[in-house]
Structure formats: structure tokens, C-alpha cells
Amino acid sequence: MTERTLSGIGVTPLSGVGTVVWYRPDADLPEPPAPEDVDGDAELARFEDARAAAEDELEAERERTAERVGEEEAAVFDAHVQFLNDPQITDGVTDAIEGGLPAEHAVQETFSEFVEQFENMGGRMGERADDLRDVRDRLVRVLSDGERVDLSSLPEGSVVVAERLTPSDTAQLDPERVAGFVTVTGGRTSHAAIFARSLALPAIVGVGEELQSVEDGTEVVVDGESGDLVVDPTDERKEAAAAAAEVDIRHESVETADGVDIEVAANIGTLADLGPAVDRGADGVGLFRTEFLFLDRESPPDEDEQYEAYVEALESFDGGRVVVRTLDIGGDKPVPYLDLPDEENPFLGERGIRRSLGPDADLFETQVRALLRAAASADGANLSVMLPLVSTVEELRAGRERFESVAADLDSEGVENELPEFGIMVETPAAAFMADRFAPHVDFFSIGTNDLAQYVMAAERGNERVSDLGDYRQPAVLRAIDATVSATEGEDCWVGMCGEMAGDPDLTELLVGLGLDELSMSAVTVPQVKAAVAETDTADARELAERVLQADTKAEVAEILTLDQ
């Protein structure tokens, strides 16, 4: 059999090998028997039992999702329970059964009517149609008892293939048994994609209708990095993918082959990201994006809520450093309860430290209080704080003074506090140029490569027309990184990197060679980067970095890096 490849959007940089299990929750039911052959009372009882069982499932999945993914994602299950118990639904199904239909057909018919109604209304009502379909398919699955694929008890090594996967579907998947999943529809930010990343499952979405041609029981390789689904793979391909999938998770810290310590940490947004970060062996947190504590809600978290969040992050790692970035609001991160100005170029406008020292001074003060208190907690010595989007020494000084004056306030109130390790993000060309002037005032730099590449290259993030320019392998971006690290020579200032570049294992040797002390990334790639660090020799890495810095073009950079593999 010859190997063939379908492509979609890879959503996790992980590979998996397995056997296709098609999940078709909306497959047609068999023809119903004649009405006179249907026992109405028995069917009503079956419906009632199924409804109770479905409600139990929903409650359990709500709990699990709240724990694994977050409260926001879990709330959808409350709506599902309400649809399940809706009088219009139960009356409709009861009428249909009394009219001579078996329970599953009655459910199908009743729900489908409402699904159609909601779909015709369009817009946001369309989302409700998805919820209704989801509840319908759940009831039909419970009623058909074992005749449909049950996502919660798949054979080991299954690759789930589906038109799409709903929150209900993904909540049932057992990540220990599933080798990955692939869907016809969906994008990088679809529910299924977010779920795959939080559980570190290889996954590809948005393959398109071609996926229908892949049959049940086919062997496939899911490459969640390239987005390639390899059907009927050759043995070599399977072995390579299996080897890639079997990256050892190292819970201990890692050093290069010649014994230089490199900290490998995880980027987190919410506390739900802590579990996967610990599971994947991160040494600590290299970037806690605290703005996520402020998004998707109607009022900001208060001092105690923030304090508890920071302490929880600190307690999750056994002595591991937790780098908290103060609020980075503005740019592409709107917050409903803040009156954010409508700016023509939000990425060049009032964001990050500019807002914390300006209109968001009160929010900033609350955050600083919580951070100073957290630094005095049991694991507080591991807390580091950094300011986002700094471009002048004045901003750094003003930010630092805020910490000092708030600490004095806390002292006078008799509240225990400590000044944490203090640093800045290097993500503007100004910060990279002035790094030697910043270095004496800070304990560390953390290079934010996503923004640094955007600002150095004047190429907007997420704009596909200029994505080649905004690539972190552009020589100008590499020089900005080199300039930042070089500026710390002779200073007591370590340099880390957060951003996608840090999580690219193909670049680990280069980054070590450029002199970075810490790399922080999405939890998924921590094991690969730790493995890459262990294989790196710092002398070779420095030599590689020197050659790369001589390159004229991104293509040359890529070529040097490929030859080096």
C-alpha cells in the first residue's frame, strides 16, 4: 500500500501513530419499526432513563472540564443540561413517542426541528444549534447503547477522526488511550485545538472533506506540528514518528552535554495551565501572562484573588522559579471593563507598562501589592516579576519605584512583603538597543520574541501577508537577541527567552550558543527542548551562533541550521 498525505492545520507540535476510529455522532438511524410495533410506555421509560444518564454524564464532564481546561469552557455544560430538561424538548419527544416512534427517533426528530429553527436565525443562534446537536447526539448515543462509538472507552492507540469535535466529545476522550485526533473542520483557535494543546495530544484540524476518504481501521501518523496526516505510512515513517512521540519527560533540571545549566520553563496564562506544565517537566514558569486573570470577566480580580493565584503557581513547582509578567493589556487584548481607547495602531499604542504607569495605575497598584505579598509567602523567594513592553529607562525606573513605594505602604500597614527578583521584557527594538543601560538596574531580561520580531521587522503578528518578514529567523531579529545578551556581559543579569522561538527544539542549540540562560515555552514542547539542551555542547553552539550571525538572509540562516541538524 502506498503512503499518501493529507494536510490540515497542526495544533500541537507532537506526533502520534495509531488506527483511525471514525466518530460519526450524527450518522443516520435505521428505519423505525411500524408504529403498532412500538411499545409506547417502554419507549417513554427508555427516554427517561437516557435523560437521567445523559444528565449524569454532563455533570461529570462539567467537573472534568473545569479542572482540565477551565471554568469558562465548562459553563457550556450548564446550558446543555438546560436543553436536555427543557419542557419543549421533553414534551416534543413524549408526543413523538406517543405518535408511534421509538425513543431515539423521537429524540432525533424533536431536536432536529429546533436545530433547524436556530440555524435559520443565523448569527449567534447558530452556536446554540451546535449545542442542541450536541445534546441530541448524546441522547441518541445513550439510547443506542454500544452501537455507536463511545469516546470514553476507545482501544489504546486510537486516532479519533471526526467532522468536528464538540466540548462534550473532547471531555470524554481519555488522553492515555487516544493517540491523537483529526477533524474535517476547525481552526487554530477552535475548541478542539485548545483542548489538544492543554492535554498535549497530537492533533490536526481543518483537513477538509478529503478526510472522508480515510477509512475506519486505517493506520495513520498524525503530525501535529506540520499538520500532515500520513495515511498508510511506511514502516520508516511510523518508527520516526513513534521515536518523536516518545520523548522522555524529564522532571529534573537539565544541563548541556558539557555541564551548563539551562532553565527550561513553561508559559502559562491561567492556573489551569499549571498542571500540564508540571506534567511535561517544566522547571518553573518563565512567563505568567497575568492579563488572563483579567480577561473574560466583568470586574478585575482583587488583591487576594491575585495573591492566591501567584502563590498557587509558586507552590506548583518544587523550588522552581515563577516569572510573573505584570499586566500587558492593550494591543490585541481587550478588556471589557476598562475603557480602552480606540487606537489606529493598537500595537504601537498605549499597552503594557504604558498603561500600568498611566490609566491603569490603580489596577497596577493592586497587582503590585499582591505580588509583594506573594514574594513573602513560603515559596516567595522563587518569585520574579517583569514589566512588559519597556522602551525607556524612565519606564523601568518608574515601574521599580512603584514596587518600592507600595512595599513601603505595606510595611506601614504591617503587611508582610518582600521585593521579588526584578526584570523587564525585551520586546521593543529600543530595549534591545539600550540593553546595556537597562542591565545594571535589573536582575534579568526576558526576550519576548513574538513582539520583538514584530517590532524589529515592522511586520504585524498574525498578518499572513508579512509572516515571512515577521519570522524570528530573520537575521535582524537574531542580531537584536545577540545585542541584548551581549549587553549583560559583566553584569549580574541573566537572560531568558519566552515566545514561540524558545519552544522550537530546532533552535535550541542556536539559543544556547547565543548565551541564553533560560527558555520558556508552551508546556507541550518542554520535553523536546530539554532533550535538545542535553545534546548541546556549548562550544559547538557558540560556533554555530557565530556562523548564523554572519548570515545575510533568513534563507541562509535556515540553511545553516538545517545543515547542522
Partner: protein, 89 residues
């Protein structure tokens, strides 16, 4: 007993506010119905399908009609949800 209320939540009677509204309506004995303030048609407040199906947006006015022993308490609780910017989590 009836009351006219302006819908404050940003999402209108959709998603979480709708979910809370229906849950609250179900927690009272009173029979509650609602409709757009300028229309005569009413739907049961205890039905998620009916409530979201109305498609009431932010800033629109709705009419709440309640009958039963705890009608007033039910109206108070429901009005509270409709006039809070976002349903409490």
C-alpha cells in the same frame, strides 16, 4: 403581575445570562413568561429553548409576567439578572 425590564448584559439573553435566567425561573413555583415589551407573544421563562430562541439583545426591553404564590420574588430575582451587566460567576 407583570414588569418591563431593560436587558443590560452585553450578550443579551444568550449564553450564560440566559442559562442563569432559566435556572432562576425554574427555582420558583410561580409560572413565569416573557416576551419583547412591544409584542404580545409570551414564551415560558423556564425553557432554555424558548428564552434563547427569542434572541433578545443588549438594550432591548422585555415584559415579564408571573402568576403564583411567589410571583413577586420570582420577578425580583429575574429582574436582578437582567439588570446586572454580566451574570455573576
Amino acid at each position: 403581575m407583570e414588569r418591563t425590564v431593560t436587558v443590560v448584559p452585553e450578550d443579551g439573553l444568550h449564553a450564560r445570562p440566559a442559562s442563569q435566567f432559566v435556572e432562576t425561573a425554574n427555582s420558583f413555583d410561580a409560572d413565569v413568561q416573557l416576551g419583547r415589551a412591544d409584542e404580545d407573544d409570551l414564551v415560558p421563562a423556564a425553557s432554555m429553548l424558548a428564552v434563547t430562541g427569542l434572541g433578545v439583545g443588549h438594550g432591548e426591553s422585555v415584559r415579564l409576567v408571573a402568576e403564583g404564590d411567589d410571583a413577586e420574588a420570582a420577578l425580583d430575582a429575574l429582574e436582578d439578572i437582567l439588570s446586572t451587566p454580566e451574570a455573576k460567576q
